[in-house]
Each structure stands twice: as structure tokens, then as C-alpha cells.
């Protein structure tokens, strides 16, 4: 019964995971007849490469912008929707739409909206008397434009997770807080909602973090990491090295760096979950 699943798990998940770590210690290139173990040479190359550090810095910048923004806005929207009775389903549907829509197709729409001459964004800016930007072609703005698209896409997903968390807070807690003198929306939020949402918030932060580390689609379609590497990110560097230059060993080393960050986030999550963030 478990044999097919177990075999495929070894062949397609566990094996390749070990394989990618092993590969990162070799100089294997696709198509070359042989390879040799080169120890940490790939990592030494990587740490000596300007592109790697740019890529890592841009990825961390992307994560540091998208995670707080998408989590805070997701929470704000969820609270606003929950705070009243009317049009709940409408708002929920609208905010969830970007999660469903194929990101590649919507990236192309964003590209046109950010068009330097005929784009909607610059058109609106001109309308209120501002100079526009060549958003995706300017090294000062390219990464931030991608961040905006990232937040636009992640917000609705986080909203739905927070809505589920809000529904599960027992009403009696609010009544109890009221009796204890917690009047006003802010007091209720600070004393009941925020502590009770602790586990949800940790989960949302971690999953948004992991997804942001994986950012690739928008980068590959819109900027290819440019201009002059200003929007280069880890998975895109890995893609270029591993699948355009076929430097499998070096690409594997980049994958390992990516895995370390994802692992760190997962550890943070389980550490916080075990501490019982419920009533911090």
C-alpha cells in the first residue's frame, strides 16, 4: 500500500534533496562526461562572487519589505472586514482574486501598468503633478516595483488566514475584557485579539517569508534580475547558473544557501509554536 508512495518519495523528493547537497561539492556540468569532488570550491567561488552577494542582499530586502507589508495589510483588511456586517463576502472575494489569478499573466499586466510612457501608474502620477519613473528599467526602483507586486499578490492569502484565526477567538473573551474595563477598539485588540492571534500570526509570517524567498516568476518575466543585477534574487541566480549555463554543481550550492534560509524560518516557527505564543 505504501510502496508506490515511498518509492516516489525517495526518488523525487528525498533523493534529489540529498543529491543537491552532494552536487554542491562537485564541479558537475550538464553534458560533461565526468565530474570530480571539489570540496568547498563552489562555496568559495560563490562567496567571492559579487553577483551572489547582490542576489542575497536583494532577496533579503525583498523579504524584509514584502513580509511585514503583506502581513500587516492582510491583518488590517481581515480586521476591517470582521468589524462590520455588510459586504463581507464581496470584500473577501475581491482581496482573494490575485491569489487565484495566474501570476505570470498578471505580471505582464503590471508590466504594462508600469510602462514608462503609456503606463497607468505614470499617467496617474503625471495627473497629480509628479514625474514618473521607468519603474522596471531603473535600478533604483526595479526591486521595489517587484515588492509591490509581491505584496499585491500575497495580501489576500494572509487575509483569509487571519479571518480564520479571528473567527476562532471565543466571544466570551471580549465580554470578559469589557467587564475588566477594556473599552474601545484598541484596548480590545491589544488585550484579546492580538494575543489570541499569536499562533496564526507566526504561521502567516513564516509562510509569507518562505514564499518571498522563493520569488522567481515576476523577476524572470519582468526584469531578468536587471538592470545591472539590481533585482537579481537567489532562485533566479540559481535558475540562470543551473539551467541556462548548466553549471549544475554551482547551481546546487546556491540551492543549499536557499535551503538554509527556508530551514531557519521553519525552525523559528516550530520554536515559537512550542513556546506557546498563545498568551505572550
Amino acid at each position: 500500500m505504501v510502496a508506490p508512495a515511498f518509492t516516489l518519495m525517495c526518488l523525487l523528493l528525498l533523493g534529489p534533496l540529498l543529491g543537491v547537497i552532494a552536487l554542491s561539492f562537485t564541479d558537475y556540468q550538464l553534458g560533461s562526461p565526468q565530474f570530480s569532488w571539489i570540496g568547498l570550491a563552489n562555496y568559495q567561488d560563490m562567496f567571492g562572487d559579487r553577483v551572489f552577494w547582490l542576489s542575497l542582499r536583494n532577496t533579503l530586502t525583498y523579504v524584509a519589505i514584502v513580509v511585514p507589508a503583506a502581513v500587516a495589510l492582510g491583518l488590517a483588511v481581515a480586521l476591517l472586514i470582521e468589524s462590520g456586517g455588510s459586504f463581507r463576502a464581496w470584500y473577501r472575494t475581491i482581496y482573494f482574486l490575485p491569489v487565484m489569478a495566474t501570476l505570470i499573466a498578471m505580471s505582464i499586466v503590471w508590466e504594462f501598468m508600469l510602462h514608462p510612457q503609456f503606463g497607468l501608474i505614470n499617467g496617474l502620477l503625471h495627473g497629480i503633478g509628479f514625474e514618473g519613473f521607468s519603474w522596471l528599467q531603473d535600478r533604483r526602483t526595479a526591486l521595489y516595483a517587484l515588492c509591490v507586486i509581491g505584496v499585491w499578490q500575497a495580501l489576500g492569502f494572509n487575509m483569509v488566514l487571519f479571518l480564520a484565526g479571528l473567527v476562532s477567538i471565543p466571544r466570551q473573551l471580549y465580554d470578559a475584557a469589557e467587564i475588566d474595563g477594556a473599552h474601545g477598539a484598541w484596548a480590545r485588540f491589544r488585550l484579546v485579539t492580538w494575543p489570541m492571534l499569536g499562533p496564526t500570526t507566526v504561521f502567516v509570517v513564516v509562510i509569507t517569508g518562505i514564499r518571498s524567498f522563493q520569488v522567481f516568476d515576476t523577476v524572470h518575466v519582468l526584469t531578468k534580475g536587471g538592470p545591472s543585477k539590481s533585482s537579481e534574487v537567489l532562485i533566479h541566480t540559481m535558475y540562470v547558473e543551473g539551467f541556462e549555463f548548466f553549471r549544475s554543481g554551482y547551481g546546487a550550492a546556491l540551492t543549499v544557501v536557499f535551503l538554509v534560509f527556508v530551514l531557519l524560518l521553519t525552525l523559528v516557527k516550530s520554536a515559537l509554536a512550542n513556546r506557546g505564543v498563545h498568551y505572550v
Binding site: F6, Y95, Q117
Partner: protein
């Protein structure tokens, strides 16, 4: 009874904030439809107008379908997503049943492995799986698009949690009737699991319909392109000149999932946020 003034102020504030956010969220969708409805001359102008002066939506659709093989991309999307889901179910369900209801040596270890596999991001295994497929000579084929996703550790976990709640009496009764263990999976467990399976199906189909990374890596041939690859290559060929048909193509690519979502919102939100219950 008239509502208190504070309640009215709050209600106005709530709707203003939510509407402002909704405008930001909907802007790309509105602009996509607006641009797809405009003739070339209205697209390349500096004046912003959402409603086209002359309506060119059908022309743009015709151009898009004429220049890019959109039907083929949609068909590929259906073939790939459906195959992936069917194989995931065929492989995950027996394993989930065994992990939930059967006693055998190594069960706990196996379940721990499943939990571990859930955490492996798909980008991490891409290079070795690519090399493996290169070795077998199956790159650039439907198989290359489907096989890596036939095993869903998350699917096994989800169905195992669900099967745990099915009463043992039901299984005992089936065994009394002489139904084999595989028969129990398909004839007893599967029918009880339809809601969980639907949610997982939506999760799986949406993820793989929208996937760009893996098809980009393994495909060369035009006729195998999935919807995201198809629209991306259409854009590259048009090189940013023909925005009307390009936006029309984008509408075609997102339409199947968006329409399905609007028809069955609750189920879709459940399915997509499945990862939220881990």
C-alpha cells in the same frame, strides 16, 4: 431606532478604507480588461481613460488566438493539471489509508518522512530531478511536466488526518464482507473523503495551472507549453508592442480559474488555504 453617530462614522471609515484597498487590488484586473478592449491607437496615448472610445475586445481576442496557440496552451494546462491530480490521488490514498489504519513495522518512521517531505520546497529538488530526467531522456514531454508532482507528501498527510476520523467499525464491516484492503481504500474510504479530496484537488490544480518555474525548466517545444509559459512567450514574441491582444491573452489564461473561483468561492478559499491548517 437610529444608529448612533459614532457607528455611522465608523461604518463610513471601514468602507472607505476597504474600498481604497479594493481599488489597489482590482486595478490590474480593470486595466487588463480596459486595455484588451481598446484599439492600438487608444492604447498608445498619454491620456488615461478606462472606457474605450471604440470597442475592440473581439478584434484583440481574434488577434491573440490567431498569433498564439491559446487553445493548445489551455488544453495542455488541463491535461497536465488533471493528470497530476489523478496520479496524486492514486498514489497518496493507499499510503494515507495504511498510515491511518494499518499497523506495520516502520509506520512511525514513514509518517515522520512524510512530514519532513512537506517542508521540501520544489525549487530545492529542481537540479537533481532535471539531471535525472535528462538521463532518462524524458525532458520536454508531458511526462516531464507531470511525474515530479505525482508524489504529494502534503496530500498523504492531509488524507491520513482525514482517514483517522473514519470509524474503525466501517472498515471492519467491509473486511467481513470480504472486500480487499485496496477495495476498502477505493470503495469505503474514498467516498467518505470527498470533501477533503475536493479541497486538495483545488489546491493541486491551482498550484499546477499557475506553475511557471518547472515547465520553464523542462520544456522547449511550443506545442507542450502550459498556460503561463504560453502567455510569457507570446509577450516575448510581441516584444511589448501589441498590448491589446497581449491583455486579451492574459484574460484567457486567468479566466478558467477565476471563473471557477467566483462560482465556488468558499470551496476555493478552503482549498487554497489548506496549507494554513498544518
Amino acid at each position: 431606532m437610529t444608529p448612533r453617530p459614532r457607528a455611522i462614522v465608523w461604518s463610513v471609515a471601514r468602507h472607505s478604507l476597504l474600498l481604497a484597498g479594493a481599488a489597489f487590488i482590482l486595478l490590474p484586473f480593470v486595466w487588463m480588461i480596459s486595455t484588451a478592449s481598446k484599439p492600438q491607437t487608444e492604447i498608445f496615448t498619454k491620456s488615461i481613460h478606462f472606457i474605450p472610445h471604440s470597442f475592440a475586445l473581439w478584434d484583440n481576442f481574434a488577434t491573440a488566438f490567431g498569433k498564439a496557440n491559446l487553445w493548445r496552451f489551455l488544453l495542455n494546462g488541463v491535461v497536465v493539471t488533471v493528470s497530476i491530480f489523478v496520479l496524486q490521488v492514486l498514489i497518496a490514498l493507499p499510503a494515507a489509508y495504511a498510515l491511518a489504519k494499518l499497523r506495520f513495522a516502520g509506520r512511525e518512521v514513514l509518517f515522520a518522512l512524510v512530514l519532513f517531505c512537506i517542508l521540501i520546497p520544489p525549487q530545492a529538488t529542481a537540479i537533481p530531478v532535471f539531471l535525472l530526467f535528462h538521463q532518462f531522456g524524458i525532458l520536454d514531454s508531458y511526462a516531464a511536466l507531470i511525474v515530479p508532482f505525482t508524489i504529494s507528501a502534503f496530500g498523504i498527510f492531509l488524507m491520513r488526518q482525514f482517514f483517522k476520523t473514519v470509524p474503525d467499525d466501517l472498515i471492519e464491516a467491509a473486511r467481513m464482507d470480504g472486500i480487499s484492503e485496496f477495495g476498502i481504500v477505493w470503495r469505503v474510504m474514498l467516498p467518505t473523503a470527498i470533501p477533503a479530496l475536493t479541497a486538495f484537488g483545488i489546491f493541486s490544480v491551482v498550484a499546477h495551472w499557475n506553475d511557471y518555474f518547472w515547465p520553464l525548466i523542462v520544456l522547449n517545444s511550443e506545442h507542450l507549453r502550459t498556460p503561463p509559459l504560453g502567455v510569457a512567450s507570446f509577450r516575448n514574441e510581441e516584444a511589448g508592442t501589441n498590448y491589446g491582444p497581449l491583455m486579451a491573452a492574459a484574460i484567457v489564461i486567468i479566466a478558467p480559474l477565476v471563473v471557477a473561483f467566483l462560482l465556488a468561492q468558499r470551496r476555493f478559499i478552503e482549498g487554497i488555504t489548506l496549507t494554513g491548517i498544518k
